[in-house]
């Protein structure tokens, strides 16, 4: 094996890899289509804001005052009244059986208490089976009652002037697209590169490559090239579609974003190749790749907030390349941030990328011998 990197030899190898990928329509379709579709469809479908929470109401007061409170609850579409009966027992039963997500019970003496200036007790129970809905709903409900209580008080209340930066319309897709983009590139990149290189081992063509004068680095980089270009296309495609569908802005430096994304894609492919050096069959490839990719996704802040994780897991997520890529992507795309702000993440990602490439190159070489 010659140690010198030869561009000509490399280009021949690249051509071979491209022909192998382009030769199989199914593979091509499966590498390009799902990433683009997943980013846009899931960006459209995922909605972390709760709405249509089915609220069973027992209005035992049946007065203008109680109807006013009910209106306050159902005005903004978070709570939707169900037709569950008018007494407390039926409301509780509806929540217990899961037919209603929450139940509101207004006592019979509600109106008289209000008129006397006393403070009536209103019960609100949540179905805690979905603790996500229950927690957010409880927060909404207390805010609704606080605002309801505050209206018409004597002093002008202290106002809270709030502006939302970066995403003034609070479009949820703007939040999800960078996370989904990173996740999908990781999961597809890992699976595709790992399974393609194990295939070579499986079919015995790895030995043929060993007999050629090509160095292991040339072989490895040639393997990366076609997948890399496909994923760049997939990434640009999903960004363009997101712009078209969700009006996703691009506020930062595009070349900077492309450079970092390339680094990230190479890192994902290298992890895949690294996995392929440990295993021998396709079954093992899939199992290990998915097992690597899904926790990386969950511990990245793409869906579940990192701040809410137990401290040990937060520390652990610092070695997750996806976490850094997502925070970079959000910063560049949505905030227009430059290197002066995102450099810690870039540094971490670069360190990780270099480590992944060098370990997988070493492992790959030892495999060739």
């Amino acid at each position: 094996m010659s140690g010198v990197f030869s561009w000509r030899r490399w280009l021949v190898l690249v051509r071979k890899e491209f022909m192998q990928i382009l030769g199989n329509r199914q593979v091509l379709y499966i590498l390009l289509f799902p990433p683009i579709v997943q980013v846009t469809i899931l960006g459209y479908a995922l909605n972390p804001l709760i709405k249509h929470v089915a609220l069973a109401i027992a209005d035992e007061s049946k007065s203008p005052a109680s109807r006013e409170l009910i209106d306050a609850f159902t005005a903004n579409g978070v709570f939707v009244p169900t037709r569950a009966g008018s007494d407390a027992a039926r409301v509780y039963r509806a929540v217990q059986s899961g037919t209603a997500d929450a139940g509101l019970v207004i006592p019979a003496d509600y109106a008289t208490m209000i008129t006397r200036g006393a403070s009536p007790d209103v019960q609100l129970v949540f179905d805690g089976v979905n603790s996500y809905v229950a927690n957010l709903g409880a927060g909404y409900a207390s805010a609704i009652v606080q605002v309801y209580n505050a209206r018409g008080s004597a002093a002008p209340p202290l106002a809270s002037e709030i502006t939302f930066a970066y995403n003034p319309g609070l479009v949820t897709a703007w939040f999800f697209v960078p996370g989904l983009l990173g996740s999908v590139l990781m999961i597809t990149g890992l699976l595709a590169s790992a399974s393609a290189s194990v295939r070579e081992k499986d079919e015995g063509t790895l030995e043929q490559l060993l007999m050629t004068p090509a160095s292991s680095l040339e072989v490895l980089l040639a393997k990366i090239a076609p997948l890399f270009s496909l994923f760049i296309i997939a990434m640009l495609g999903s960004l363009a579609l997101s712009r078209l569908i969700f009006g996703l802005p691009f506020r930062g430096d595009f070349p900077l974003f492309m450079a970092i994304s390339s680094l990230y894609i190479v890192a994902a492919i290298s992890i895949g190749i690294l996995i392929s050096t440990f295993v021998t069959t396709q079954q093992q490839v899939v199992l290990i790749s998915l097992f690597t990719a899904l926790p990386l996704m969950m511990l990245s802040g793409a869906f579940a907030p990192i701040e809410s994780m137990p401290p040990a897991w937060q520390a652990f997520s610092l070695i997750n390349p996806l976490r850094h890529y997502i925070s970079i992507a959000r910063a560049i795309i949505l905030k227009g941030a430059g290197l002066d702000i995102i450099w810690p993440d870039v540094l971490a990602l670069a360190a990780f990328g270099l480590l992944a490439i060098s370990i997988s190159a070493t492992r790959y070489r030892s495999q060739l011998r």
């Binding site: 499966i30 459209y44 006013e68 209000i114 403070s119 609100l124 209580n149 709030i162 809410s308």
Partner: protein
């Protein structure tokens, strides 16, 4: 259908599975490891969001306000020097909101003049942003009330100043233990993922190695081939299920809250759905790589995100709510949460169990159709 041949086909699959010890170890070790990671690390409840506060007022009110913001579970108040602009603080990216208490706020409140607390909130994470807004609005209303002048005249009844006391209770999971929400959901995600993968690979491997031709040439019928493979993978899937549920019980104390029968029926049904889906994918795809991509990435992302595991299905656009009815994991997660948390038994879950059975029968036909002639596809 000849049951003897089904049984032999099933044994053949199990022997093939056992022959590769690493795959056996992975097929059981990975679901368990995934359960542990997800069960310990995924928390959706918002906690510890850092917000910067610039206090220009330096009064009793502003100190009260800051300590009350900090006392909330959701936010951490970080005092910020006064020389940076709020926009620059937010741009630096270390905090999710920059809050300014302008000078003279307490005096304005106590004299009954209008005053305002200004904040810029990072809108990138929408749930975070709305939570911050809620807390700031509630806190400023609550704290300022203590500094407001006493009303000049008693307020006129009836509705001018209602004083409703809201008592909120969360049933079934009063401690807000998030593991009780996440773990029964993870059961569904894991059982939707791994059996499908193993099935897709089992199907396509025969094709890629060419050994399927031997099955085609034998007297074996398509229904027997599929039933045999399905039975073998069903066994593997059920052992996986048992393993993760024992661990869920040992680690988080997740146990049946009521009648377990619907859940005990639904588990084999879900595994059956997922295995049939895997066999279907395997029969349509020609190479292991493409089968893996289809079964692996698409199926796991769909089971993961369109099943209600994280965000409730009802918040999705209507079209996706309809699509999610076809996702077996969605029904299973509902049944699983009911069995382990609510415990309402058949009354709350019978329709979900029926849906799973319906999906399983549709998938059985789908898996059988492309194989029914037991012939090589033209051009293959």
């Amino acid at each position: 259908m000849n049951l003897g041949r089904v049984w032999v086909q099933c044994l053949k699959e199990l022997v093939e599975f056992r022959r590769d010890p690493l795959t056996v170890a992975l097929a059981f070790g990975l679901p368990v490891a995934m359960l542990l990671i997800f069960g310990f690390a995924i928390r959706l409840q918002i906690k510890n969001i850092p917000v910067a506060i610039q206090d220009f007022d330096r009064s009793a009110f502003s100190r009260d306000f800051i300590s009350r913001v900090d006392a909330s579970q959701e936010l951490i108040a970080i005092p910020e020097p006064l020389d940076r602009s709020p926009a620059a603080i937010l741009d630096a990216g270390a905090v999710r909101a920059a809050i300014v208490i302008p000078p003279g706020t307490q005096r304005a409140i106590s004299e009954g003049r209008p005053a305002a607390i200004q904040s810029i909130v990072d809108g990138t994470d929408v749930v975070n942003a709305l939570t911050i807004k809620q807390i700031l609005t509630a806190t400023s209303a609550f704290v300022s009330a203590g500094y407001a002048p006493p009303p000049a005249a008693p307020i006129a009844p009836p509705f001018d100043a209602p004083n409703v006391a809201l008592h909120e209770r969360i049933w079934f999971n009063p401690g807000g233990n998030e593991a009780l929400f996440i773990v029964p959901g993870v059961y569904g995600v894991i059982l939707a993922m791994y059996p499908t993968l193993l099935a897709a690979i089992a199907m396509v491997r025969d094709k890629e190695r060419g050994t399927i031709v031997q099955a085609y040439a034998s007297r074996l019928r398509a229904s027997e081939l599929i039933a045999g493979k399905c039975l073998a993978l069903e066994c593997i899937g059920l052992v996986e299920a048992l393993a993760i549920m024992l661990i869920g019980w040992a680690v988080w104390g997740v146990h049946f809250a009521g009648d377990p029968v619907p859940f005990l029926l639904a588990t084999p049904l879900l595994v059956c759905c997922q295995v049939l889906l895997g066999l279907f994918i395997g029969s349509r795809m020609t190479t292991v790589t493409s089968a893996i991509q289809a079964a692996g990435s698409v199926n796991s992302l769909v089971s993961f995100l369109l099943s209600g595991f994280l965000y409730p299905v009802t918040t999705m656009p209507l079209v996706f709510q309809w699509i999610s009815y076809a996702v077996p994991a969605r029904h299973y997660i509902n049944i699983s949460r009911d069995a382990f948390v609510r415990g309402s038994g058949w009354s709350g879950t019978s329709s979900e169990v029926l849906s799973l059975a319906a999906i399983a029968s549709i998938l059985a036909v789908c898996a059988w159709l492309p194989m029914r002639r037991m012939q090589l596809a033209r051009g293959a």
